[in-house]
């Protein structure tokens, strides 16, 4: 895979070209012959890139399957955040604003002027910081199960919709966690990474259980996550995130799809965000937890396709 050598980091990335041009009747964005004639510049026929940002302790593969489907109508760019996947692991720079700068540098490197930005979990904080710093480069935002501290200051395990059930699974595999830790997401990612490192080969049943809790089920990713926490400023940076302010959130007025799992621990963010962002479209995936892009990819693909299609109609109507 190609690597972008940026100022302070090397980012691994993957670009999927748009599979069907807009003049193909098979393309869901096809406007008919009149629509094509109406285009004045062939450059305008190419929709903006969809750039997909993954969350913590995973990598660009988190989005790969969805990216293949979404690349039917849009060119798609995936990349590994710094310290993740096959990107380099600098000693510091793990706050969302710093990673938003990585994203800006990557877009410059790839010659992408404007993009639709889609992100899961922590990646959402990165694209929101990007949208605040560079609003002119954002076509639209797709937030997938993103928790925002300004709207949900604490995320305790005891408040998770399915905590008792999850706790029983964790206890069965020997993991005890602090129910009152306000930053439980980091706690659970670290505990499971440590368990993955000591799990003997061939323990498929246990690994399957773990895959219900985290998206990535390999020792290599677990070891990289632990290395990131132990040898860089990531643990400190992530704990001390101030996060986007309410005023900044209120200023973001890009077309937005916010989609959450109905049983996700980030639901308080979704409910509060609905009050702040009256312009955004909210969807809730039934029977879905935080990692529904992996467990129920088709639900997300359908929502994103429909959102992008609607944007395209609006663009053509203007």
């Amino acid at each position: 895979m190609p690597v972008a050598h940026l100022k302070a980091v090397d980012l691994n990335y993957l670009q999927l070209p748009q599979k069907l041009s807009l003049d193909s009747p098979l393309n869901p964005l096809y406007q008919g012959e009149q629509g094509i004639e109406g285009e004045q510049d062939s450059q305008n026929d190419i929709p903006s890139n969809l750039v997909m940002v993954h969350g913590l302790a995973t990598n660009l593969a988190f989005w790969y399957h969805l990216a293949l489907e979404l690349s039917v109508t849009h060119p798609v760019t995936l990349f590994d955040l710094r310290g993740h996947g096959r990107s380099s692991m600098p000693e510091n720079g793990y706050t969302p604003p710093q990673m938003a700068e990585d994203l800006r540098e990557l877009l410059d490197y790839l010659g992408i002027e404007t993009a639709h930005l889609m992100a899961h979990s922590f990646g959402g904080s990165v694209i929101l910081d990007f949208a605040c710093a560079y609003p002119e480069r954002v076509e639209s935002l797709i937030l997938v199960d993103v928790r925002l501290r300004v709207l949900q200051p604490r995320q305790r395990l005891r408040d998770w919709p399915r905590w008792k059930r999850t706790q029983r699974i964790l206890n069965r595999i020997g993991v005890e966690l602090d129910e009152d830790d306000p930053e439980s997401g980091y706690q659970i990612l670290e505990a499971i990474a440590r368990l993955q490192m000591r799990l003997p080969k061939g323990k498929h049943r246990l690994r399957r259980l773990l895959s219900k809790l985290v998206p990535e089920n390999s020792q290599r990713t677990a070891s990289r996550w632990l290395k990131l926490l132990e040898t860089t400023s990531a643990r400190r940076d992530l704990k001390n995130i101030e996060g986007i302010s309410l005023e900044q959130l209120q200023q973001i007025n890009k077309p937005t799809l916010a989609i959450y799992g109905e049983s996700s621990p980030t639901l308080p963010t979704a409910n509060a965000l609905k009050e702040v962002w009256t312009h955004a479209h909210f969807e809730f995936v039934p029977l879905a937890g935080h990692f529904f892009p992996v467990s129920q990819p088709q639900a997300l693909i359908a929502s994103v396709k429909s959102f992008l299609k609607q944007l395209n109609y609006l663009d053509n109507a203007c």
Binding site: M1, N12, L14, N59, Y64, H65, L68, G202, S211, S218
Partner: protein
């Protein structure tokens, strides 16, 4: 032109050896039975890297999604032999 299964097997083994040479694996060698996740400690991004490298090598899209996904979910693991068979069918099918 047909590409033989033996050639595809050697190509895939060479690519895997290149990818893993600095990983300090406790492994005697890579064979058809070697599993990507269990034996080579592949992360999901390494599987995508392998896919991209193979498509670049054979200069065509191979539709790996059919191999990586079953029932709408990623498969737990894949053996080298399964990949060789899949690529052989795609190139010669």
């Amino acid at each position: 032109m047909q590409v033989t299964e033996t050639n595809i097997h050697s190509t895939i083994i060479n690519i895997l050896q290149d990818m893993t040479q600095e990983w300090e694996l406790e492994l005697d060698g890579i064979t058809g039975n070697t599993k990507l996740v269990e034996d080579l400690s592949f992360a999901s991004v390494d599987i995508i890297h392998l896919v991209v490298t193979l498509e670049e090598h054979f200069k065509q899209k191979l539709g790996f999604d059919q191999l990586l996904m079953r029932g709408g979910r990623y498969v737990d693991d894949l053996s080298v032999g399964e990949i060789v068979t899949f690529v052989t069918q795609k190139l010669n099918g």
